[in-house]
């Protein structure tokens, strides 16, 4: 069995996401859904409900400490954003945090992903995106393929990380050299299994290029730039310490205000420090 088959089999064997997420999705998709009904689904698990409230009160959502109940969270943030918070927390819990490889620790990986999520949402707001609901989640799950490798091809991924260290190359190049394909491809396998929406699949498969066939895909371009910001500021650890070159086309897609990055740096770091303590504890 070659490595690709091993990964494909690994994906098949991975369990589906916990029922709380599917129950929640069904409740939200019901055209007669009420915030009370959805809140009831979430309140069934007190620990999750508590965590959701803490995340909903994260500074980057803009409702610092004002949200006391799940019903309020739904009212302020909307069904989709609350579902996305649940999804982000579910995925973080889904993968083992104990599978440490050399200097690559899942906790640092998630810190990087959360940093990218926060930066993506900040960019979404800065460019005047009306529907920023998927921006945080898109950033959080963009590198999910790396965890799939860690889960189902542990030994081979150890070789990948060794190569990153010895040759000082990006993890993506090392993955291609050792495994034959990179985490964008692996992540897509998982995204298809979990039937994620198309825009999130695009993020997972195209965040390195910063664009899909659709040049107006501002979510993909935002994640592409947010990943660079998180690497530049050392928010968590993505598997290598290099900051990749931005694709020149993202600047036309995003049209960010002049001086944007230096103006938002301190806010991004503050929001990151607060949020990782909420989401990773």
């Amino acid at each position: 069995m070659d490595l690709k088959d091993k990964i494909l089999n690994g994906v098949k064997k991975l369990p589906t996401l916990p029922t709380v997420y599917s129950t929640l999705s069904e409740a939200i998709e019901d055209p007669r859904a009420s915030s009370e009904k959805v809140a009831k689904v979430l309140a069934a698990d007190q620990v999750s409900a508590f965590k959701i409230l803490k995340v909903a009160n994260s500074p980057f959502f803009g409702f610092r400490g004002k949200i006391d109940t799940i019903t309020q969270a739904i009212m302020y943030l909307g069904f989709t954003e609350v579902r996305n918070i649940v999804f982000a927390l579910t995925v973080i819990d889904f993968f083992s945090k104990d599978k440490v490889l050399a200097n690559f620790k899942p906790v640092d990986f998630w810190a990087h992903s959360i940093g990218v999520g926060i930066a993506t949402r900040m960019i979404g707001s800065a460019i005047g995106e009306k529907s920023v609901e998927n921006y945080f989640l898109g950033g959080v799950i963009h590198d999910i393929g790396k965890l799939l490798f860690l889960e189902v091809a542990h030994d081979e991924y150890s070789t990948v990380l060794d190569l990153v260290e010895t040759e000082n190359i990006s993890i993506r190049i090392a993955e291609k050299k050792i495994l034959g394909f990179d985490h964008s491809y692996a992540g897509m396998l998982l995204a298809e299994k979990w039937q994620l929406p198309k825009n999130l699949q695009n993020v997972i498969s195209a965040h390195h290029e910063g664009k899909t066939g659709d040049i107006t895909d501002r979510l993909v371009a935002s994640v592409h730039v947010a990943d660079i910001m998180a690497r530049m500021l050392d928010l968590g650890f993505a598997g290598d310490r290099l900051v990749h070159e931005p694709d020149k086309r993202v600047w036309d897609i995003l049209n960010l205000p002049e001086g944007y990055f230096t103006s938002c740096r301190k806010r991004l770091i503050e929001d990151f420090d607060r949020t990782i303590h909420i989401m990773l504890v």
Binding site: S125, A126, G128, V225, I228, M229, R231, M232, L233, D234, R241, L242, V243, E245, P246, K248, W251, L256, P257, E258, G259, Y260, F261, T262, S263, C264, R265, R267, I269
Partner: protein, 104 residues
């Protein structure tokens, strides 16, 4: 000297350095307007996220040359490309500011 700030960092008395425009390029407020408290909520309603204001930051202490050289060395280990436009220059400046903050 002009400086871009986030709306959250708005302070009464700041002065707009350039006209404030919406995403369609329409001027909402002219340059040199002194900002008042009421403007903050108004800007939020208009969907404004950043402002370019007049700043006297150039009065800050100059950065020590050796510190700057150390920061450049650290940054050079992470970045193998040169900026192609003002966005990328600002992105690199963000990284530089961050390293300098850590070194100080």
């Amino acid at each position: 000297m002009n400086k871009t700030i986030l709306l959250d960092d708005f302070e009464e008395g700041m002065e707009l350095a350039v006209p404030l425009k919406n995403k369609f390029g329409q001027v909402l407020l002219g340059a040199n307007v002194k900002l008042e408290k009421k403007h903050k909520n108004l800007f939020r309603t208009w969907g404004i996220e950043t402002l370019v204001i007049v700043s006297d930051d150039e009065g800050e202490e100059p950065i020590d040359e050796s510190l700057m050289a150390e920061a450049e060395t650290i940054l050079a280990k992470k970045i193998y490309w040169t900026p192609k436009n003002k966005f990328e220059e600002n992105l690199i400046q963000m990284g530089m500011d961050n390293i300098l903050d850590k070194l100080r």
